[in-house]
Amino acid sequence: MSSNAVIGSPVSRVDGPDKVHGRATYAAEFKPEGLAYAALVLSRIPSGRIKSIDVSLAMTVPGVVSVITHENAPRLPYKEMKKRPQVDPKAGGQLRVFQDDKVLWSGQPIACVVADSIEQAETAADLIRVTYSPDAQAQTKFDRALGLKPAPEAEADGRPGETQRGDAASAFDSSPVKVEGWYLQPREQHNPIELHATIAKWDGDHLTLWDKTQWVDNDRAEIAHVFDIPQDKIRVISPFVGGAFGSALRTWHHVHIAAMAAKMTGRAVRLELTRREQFTNTGSRPHTEQHVALGALEDGRLAALIQEAWGQTSTYEEYAETTLDPPRQTYSVANNATRYRLVHMNVNTPTSMRAPGVATGVFAQEIAMDELAVALGMDPVELRLKNYAETDEYKSKPWSSKELRACYAKAADDFGWSRRSPEPRSMQDNGQLVGWGMATAIYPSHRSPAQATVRLHRDGHVLLRTAASDMGPGTYTSMTQVAADTLDLPVEKVRFELGDTDFAMAPVHGGSITMASVGTAVMAACQALQKKVGELAAASSGGPFKGAASDTLLFQGGGLALKNGGGFTPYGEFLAQHGLEWLDAEGKSEPGAESETHTSSAFGAVFAEVRVDPDLGTVRVPRLVGAYDVGRVINPKIAHSQCIGGMVGGIGMALLEMVEWDDRYGRVMNANLAEYLVPVCADIVQLEASFVPSDDKIFNPLGVKGLAEIAISGVAPAIANAVFHATGKRVRDLPILPERLLL
């Protein structure tokens, strides 16, 4: 079929020129006629009611078109969706914005000003005066004692309250070697550099949304339910997404506000959240506390693995994560117990953030494994190999592919692990404590139904379309490569468009599923096009292809030929011969029996070097080395970028990132990018990522497994383990702040 081997080659991003010229258009940058600007007012108490809201002064600001509060907002239907999309919590209900006087968290939108300019809107928003009746029972402290079992809907969705294999408690008790500890993952914010923004415009009963979203199709479905209008009356457009990492999976209430404001004012309205507003309105990685207990035999074999997690959620929705999948699946252990509890608080609902749940569970598990290695006096890599899971013991299924051994070997070799001296504080350099640590990375691979259309044009180029998204991983480029490879065309002859509900259906751009889902649909569309060309050719009244059987045809070099040589006809000429301007085809793909028979997962091994200043407790990461099994790699250049991006995220998770929470008032104290620290250029020195040979054709015909999330999985514990090796001090609370090392 394919012969030009575009798949696997380091093609530069096809959207690169648009991005470096500043021509790529993100949600806030569209400019429909008569555009008005919206600014929000946020609540200042964590729980209670709005007693009064005085907008009179705001209304006097020149240019103000409307001020919307719960007092004048239209009552919206907020119809329940028949089946909740996978991005929404399975229990509770979303915020029905401006529908009543209730305040559910500090930082909730309670009013919206629409004005001719953003300056006017912001000025007026500042002049709105609100009084509250606060609720004395506000739940602002994280208290494990309040932890509740997930709702049955969440349990049915793979977030069980308890799992049990063997008898973990007694196996732990009788284990000769044991470690046990408590681990803290603080609340984190995605903080994509692009702000969340929506432009809404009604034309009669038809709504257009230009939105920052990882899933245009679901955005449309959600808004259709909020307003109770048919989906075909809504179009969502989102060609570029300036990062999201999960924050744009759901259709948040600010999207409802934009659509409501546009409806009320009869204007196109842009609502761009401020950086501060994003901290309390677009979800976060939930604060999670975990307990891990590992029991082992003297030879290092795990006898018991117990992991428990308490995750934070809101009072109005139950966001549950797959935090405890890793401890059920990563290692071979006969006695395994997990327990998951949710602590409901007056916060906005948390959401998926890169490797949701998994990164959190892996962080605790992989530090505990390092502690066990120390307790056993065993090399950390050897301990992991000793407990290698040949099958998925949780689901009792074989892996569709697993090259984790090769990942350990490759990364250890690239890193120079054999030169490590195991004793903590034994490697010093220039007055700095040097530490080497490692961790396993794991992230499940899934796929969802997807569709794509393809149009072959007379000039020989093809246009592919699907309602997918590209928040940075390179969907535009990798899909172009899949099409070019399947059709044997140069990449310049392929145009790929996404991010529009007018295009063929695509699943959420999250959970690393895009390549396996949309990629296989693109491949299927291209194959369908070849089939059509073949049928047309065979039906010709004359010429070389007349009556040709499909298996005698060759699609190569931008045209059609006979396998036995001869008859080569460029596609353009072929269309002309058949009197066609273009030829359309479509393809779809969906998971098959393999999703029942196998477990699919990406794997990796991450090695970290740290340098710790013994006086100041500051930690630097001069290098990270990772090797990954992600199935087939469509574009090594872009895949490498994704991996180093995940590593940077992991360095942030390990050393910098946390929402500072004032648990007296239930407020975020550092809702900006100067106080919520993320890695900067000077924090990052050397990052090496490589891919071990892997091709998972059981999982899908492209052989890919997906690689966005795997890249952050395991990074923080590898760094934490290196910090222990450097200092002899075990830090189990993230981030590893200097004071946590010194005290």
């Binding site: 991005k19 550099i193 950086r275 180093i644």
Partner: protein, 160 residues
């Protein structure tokens, strides 16, 4: 008062072109560029001077345009990402960013490129360490930093 009812009328020389527009006293250069002149290549990531996405050159100096009032730029020269290369061409820094895959989502990219262009002009891109230090005002949440450093190093060498 200018015709459109705004408080001030100013003149910006943007990418070599003179542009007259009405602004409020509080209008930032960033909002003037994005919302009024529809030059959306300059990005807003924080509006607080904390991310660098809005970096432009004002009279040849890099500034964060979200902390610069439009009125302060009255009569001055503004270069944005749209103006660093002639139509249809790539500036060496732009070319190096593509070559080294120095971005993912692309949202921080115009700001990164503007900083890099200024840095090279200032002669402050002579080592990786120097580049890392001086590019640290430009956050990249996609984490393209090592590729950004490689791109700036490469472009600086080509422009030398």
């Amino acid at each position: 008062m200018p015709e459109d009812g705004r408080a001030l009328e100013i003149e910006l020389r943007v990418n070599g072109q003179s542009r007259r527009l009405g602004v409020e006293g509080s209008t930032t250069l960033l909002d003037a560029l994005r919302d009024r002149l529809h030059l959306t290549g300059t990005k807003k990531g924080c509006d607080l001077g904390q991310c660098g996405a809005c970096t432009v050159l004002l009279d040849g100096q890099r500034v964060v345009s979200c902390l610069t009032l439009a009125a302060q730029a009255d009569g001055r020269d503004v270069i944005t990402i749209e103006g660093i290369a002639p139509e249809g061409q790539l500036h060496p820094v732009q070319a190096a960013f593509i070559e080294h895959d120095a971005f993912q989502c692309g949202y921080c990219t115009p700001g990164q490129i503007m900083s890099a262009v200024a840095l090279i002009q200032e002669g402050r891109a002579t080592s990786d360490e120097e580049i890392r230090e001086h590019m640290s005002g430009n956050l990249c949440r996609c984490g393209a930093y090592t590729n950004i450093v490689a791109a700036v190093r490469d472009a600086a060498a080509k422009m030398a």
